[in-house]
Structures are given as structure tokens and as C-alpha cells.
């Protein structure tokens, strides 16, 4: 399913009632089965963009939607959160079943699907553990299993691995790509990590500082499957350099202003 973002602007009111423009005139399309990364300096509206796609926000201007038939019983999107957003009172299995409950699956069917995704994401043996008993990497596996269990047409990922240490992150990126070669969802992957974006994505949307707009969409000319050796590939380095050159001055401005 294609994701269409057409002339989208988003304006918030802050506490004192001032209008804050988070996004302006954002237009792009994500092709079916494409892994699209979104990068930008702090406060560029990356998360706002995901919330718009997830239906948690309605755009102030423009349209957000999907193109192509949605198979019956499948939700358009499911989200993986930066801080995992697991329910502390639910076990691993219970957390994975959450989306299935809301989608109206019967209990036995929920169990069966949840167990399958628990296995697929390397959580086998942890079914009855609570989130606080798991490491960060394992927690995010639960977050990914929960999202994939509902079989969404589009997987939305909000800096899913940025709370993890560097080694765990690398491994999780590889696992996610391996999963994706099987499931072939359309993925919108928000990150502030340029290397991560380039290594994983087919294309990278570069957003400007607030109000966020599309500066450029950089294509990544790397074959799949992606391997660690590609981190030294000229195509990889070229894309990273290109994106950094687009963001650098804006990131510096953001740093100076102390914008979070």
C-alpha cells in the first residue's frame, strides 16, 4: 500500500496560546514495500509526521492517506515506539496480544498469532515475563512483535532503537531487516541517526528544522540484503555525506538555540 502525504501542515497551540508550526507543505509518497527513513534535526516534526500517519493527529492543512486496497481485517498502520510503550501489568504474550484484542480476534486465535510473533522476534521462553524483567533490546522486540502481530499494511517506527546501546542497536537493525524481507510491510522509519537511516532504507526523507519541510529525498543505491561491510561502501558514504551536508547547518542552529 502506498502512503500519500500531500501538502501537509501541522500547527499546534502552545500553553500560552501561540501558534507553533511543526510541519509545513510536506509532500511525499512511500511506495508499497518500501522502507522509507525520515531524518532531520531535533524538533523538525519527525514524530508529528508519524502521529499523523497513525491517525493520532489530524493535519491542519493537506491530506494524509493510503493508496491501494487494504486487505480485509488488516489495519492500515501499527506503531513501534521509542520508549517501547509496553503495558507493565501485561506479560510479553499479553502485550503482543493487545492489538489483536482491539482488532477483534477470538482468544484462541490471538494466542496462536501472538505465540508465532513471539517466536519470530526471538522472544521464545519469555512469554510469561513482565516488561520490567526484560532488557531494553528484549522490550523493543515485544514492541515490534506487538506491531507486526496485527499485520499492518504500513509499519510506523518512531526512533525504535535510539534508547538501546550501540551494539544492541546494530543487532536489532539486522533482525528487523531480516524480518522485513519476509513480511514486506511498507515501513516509515523515523530516526535522528543518519547512518542508521542510510543503512536500512531504500530512500531517506530529509526534513528541515521547524517548521519541518522536505529538503530532499535521498535515494540509497545499496543492494539487499544489507551487510555490515556496506558501512564502508562508497554509495553508503556518499548518501551519509549528502544528508549530513543538508542537515549540518540546521543542526548547528538548533544546538545554538538549545531547542530540544
Amino acid at each position: 500500500m502506498r502512503v500519500i502525504v500531500d501538502g501537509v501542515g501541522q500547527t499546534f497551540r502552545d500553553r500560552s496560546g501561540h501558534a507553533v508550526e511543526a510541519l509545513t507543505g510536506v509532500t511525499f509518497a512511500v511506495e508499497a514495500e518500501e522502507l522509507m527513513a525520515v531524518v532531520g534535526p531535533s524538533g523538525c516534526g519527525k514524530s508529528t509526521l508519524l502521529n499523523l500517519l497513525a491517525g493520532l493527529l489530524t493535519p491542519t492543512t493537506g491530506r494524509v492517506g493510503f493508496e491501494g486496497a487494504l486487505p480485509a481485517g488488516r489495519p492500515a498502520t501499527a506503531m513501534v515506539f521509542q520508549e517501547f510503550a509496553l503495558f507493565p501489568w501485561r506479560t510479553v504474550l499479553g502485550n503482543v496480544e493487545l492489538g489483536l484484542e482491539e482488532a477483534g480476534y477470538a482468544k484462541a486465535e490471538r494466542r496462536r498469532i501472538a505465540r508465532r510473533w513471539v517466536e519470530q522476534t526471538g522472544l521464545g521462553g519469555f512469554e510469561t515475563k513482565y516488561p520490567h524483567q526484560l532488557s531494553g533490546g528484549m522490550r523493543q522486540r515485544v514492541g515490534i512483535a506487538r506491531a507486526l502481530a496485527v499485520d499492518p499494511a504500513v509499519l510506523l517506527m518512531d526512533e525504535p532503537f535510539s534508547a538501546l546501546d550501540a551494539q544492541t542497536r546494530q543487532l536489532m537493525q539486522e533482525e528487523l531487516l531480516a524480518l522485513w524481507t519476509r513480511t514486506r510491510q511498507t515501513i516509515v522509519y523515523v530516526t535522528h541517526n543518519i547512518h542508521e537511516a542510510v543503512w536500512m532504507a531504500d530512500r531517506v526523507i530529509v526534513l528541515s528544522r521547524r517548521p519541518g519541510r522536505v529538503v530532499e529525498i535521498v535515494g540509497v543505491k545499496l543492494s539487499r540484503p544489507r551487510t555490515e561491510t556496506m558501512l564502508g561502501d562508497p554509495a553508503f558514504l556518499h548518501a551519509v555525506e549528502r544528508i549530513w551536508s543538508l542537515i549540518r547547518s540546521e543542526a548547528q542552529d538548533a544546538l545554538r538555540e538549545g531547542a530540544a
Binding site: 489495519p75 498502520t77 506503531m79 515506539f81 503495558f87 482491539e102 516488561p131 524483567q133 506487538r146
Partner: protein, 270 residues
């Protein structure tokens, strides 16, 4: 690679010492025993007359005697019936109102000022009014306990619901949760720890109000037992009543802690 001779090494100063706390398991038991022993000695030697403070052994003996005669059971059963009924009504009502006020903005707007205005009234002050309305029998005593438990329960449930993690609410909504799902799967579980804190608070209040109500207008119950014993100058019986109340308080707290562990397994070992 060379290492300096051992003698020349300045050892690291143990600065963490001030942060460590020892459990002192023996001292816990010993302190309690010492208190009892001192009490016993103080009364045995006649320093304190038994009329003012009977010896622990005498209190225990009187308690056993009252248990045998069945007198104790009558008072305890009456008190338990009042407190359990009042506690249950107050807890259920408090959670229901707290949930409604926490979830619905209209209920919040209407309910919060009313609760804020009525909450500070000491509930025991309402007993005369309640007796006027409900009579001097069981209903007024149960009602005053219900009121005493209702407020901490309502306020704690409300706070628990309102402090539900916005991230979890957002996550649930992103997976298609509606209002009912949000209440059942996010707000209520989020509020459970606060609800249990309210139950423990309410249990203390309930005991206090029970005794007060039984001292004001009753012909049975532990509160009546204590007041009546004082009128008759039976200090030993009076002390039996006090010990009974402390056991009741300890027991209810222990039970609630147990229940909390069962209901909140995700908190058990954190």
C-alpha cells in the same frame, strides 16, 4: 607493566559507608521483647498500680478468659460486621466515583468541587446527623465508616486514573482502542497501585471511625467494650480491647498487602 609495592599504595577511601543500611534483624525482635519485659516488671514490682496499667500477662489471661466465655467473640463479630460492610460499601463507591470523575471531563467538573468541599469534614462529626437519619442501630455506624472510606478511595482512584501514562494511552489508541478499552486496559490498571494505597489508608480510617461510633452509641462491639470497661474501672478488660484493635489493624494491613501482591504481580519484584 609495573606495579608499585603494596605498601606504597594509598587505598581508596570507603566513602560509600554512609550510604549503606544494615537490617539489624535481631534488634527488631529484641526491642519489642524488651518493651514487654519492662512493662511486666514495672507492674509486677508495684511501681505502677494495676488499676492504671495491668501487666501484659494479666491482659493475656483476661483475654483468654473472655474468649472462653464467648464474650469476646460477640464484640469482635459485631465490630467486624460493621467495619467490613462499611469498608466494602465505601471502597466500591469510592472507586466507582473516582473512575467516573477521572475519566469523564463533565463528571470531573461537577464532582471535583463537591468532593473538595465535603472531604475536609471530619466524618465522625456527621455521626449525630446520621443517627438522626438512620436511627441509632447498625445503619448509622456502617454509614459513617462508608463515608470515611469513600473519600480516600475516590481521591486516590481519581489521581491514579489521571496519572495514567500518556504514552500508554497513545499506544493503546494507535492500536484502535476505544474509550471502554482505554478505561479497562490502561486507566484502571494504572490506578491499581493508588487504589491499594487508598485501601490501606481507608482501613485505618475505618477502624478509627468504628471505635468512635461504638463509643458514642452502641451496646456491643470493641469500642463499647473499651468504654464500658473504663466506666467499671476494669483496666484489664480495657487493655484487652486495645490489644484487640491493634491486632485488627495489623491483620487488615497484612491482608491488604497480600492482596496487593496478588493483584499487582508486575510490581512484586521491582
Amino acid at each position: 607493566m609495573s606495579v608499585a609495592p603494596i605498601a606504597a599504595v594509598q587505598p581508596v577511601v570507603d566513602r560509600g559507608r554512609v550510604l549503606r543500611r544494615r537490617p539489624h534483624r535481631v534488634a527488631r525482635v529484641l526491642g519489642l521483647l524488651a518493651l514487654l519485659l519492662a512493662w511486666e516488671l514495672l507492674t509486677r514490682t508495684g511501681w505502677v498500680p494495676a488499676l492504671f496499667l495491668p501487666a501484659p500477662s494479666a491482659v493475656l489471661a483476661a483475654g483468654v478468659e473472655m474468649l472462653r466465655s464467648g464474650e469476646l467473640l460477640v464484640h469482635v463479630a459485631t465490630s467486624l460486621r460493621r467495619i467490613l460492610l462499611g469498608f466494602a460499601l465505601g471502597a466500591v463507591g469510592g472507586v466507582a466515583v473516582g473512575l467516573a470523575v477521572g475519566v469523564f471531563s463533565l463528571a470531573d467538573a461537577v464532582g471535583t468541587p463537591i468532593i473538595a468541599a465535603t472531604f475536609p469534614v471530619p466524618k465522625i462529626a456527621l455521626l449525630p446527623l446520621l443517627i438522626l437519619w438512620l436511627g441509632i442501630g447498625e445503619a448509622s455506624k456502617v454509614a459513617v465508616i462508608t463515608l470515611g472510606v469513600f473519600f480516600p478511595m475516590a481521591i486516590n482512584t481519581y489521581a491514579g486514573v489521571r496519572h495514567a501514562d500518556p504514552l500508554l494511552l497513545r499506544a493503546a489508541v494507535s492500536f484502535g482502542a476505544g474509550r471502554v478499552s482505554l478505561i479497562r486496559k490502561v486507566m484502571l490498571p494504572s490506578a491499581l497501585p493508588m487504589i491499594f494505597a487508598g485501601l490501606k489508608l481507608g482501613a485505618g480510617t475505618a477502624l478509627l471511625l468504628l471505635v468512635a461510633a461504638e463509643m458514642i452509641a452502641a451496646s456491643s462491639g470493641v469500642g463499647y467494650l473499651i468504654l464500658n470497661a473504663q466506666n467499671l474501672m476494669e483496666t484489664t478488660t480495657l487493655m484487652v480491647g486495645i490489644v484487640l484493635l491493634s491486632i485488627l489493624g495489623l491483620l487488615s494491613h497484612w491482608l491488604l498487602v497480600r492482596l496487593e501482591r496478588l493483584a499487582l504481580p508486575w510490581k512484586a519484584e521491582s
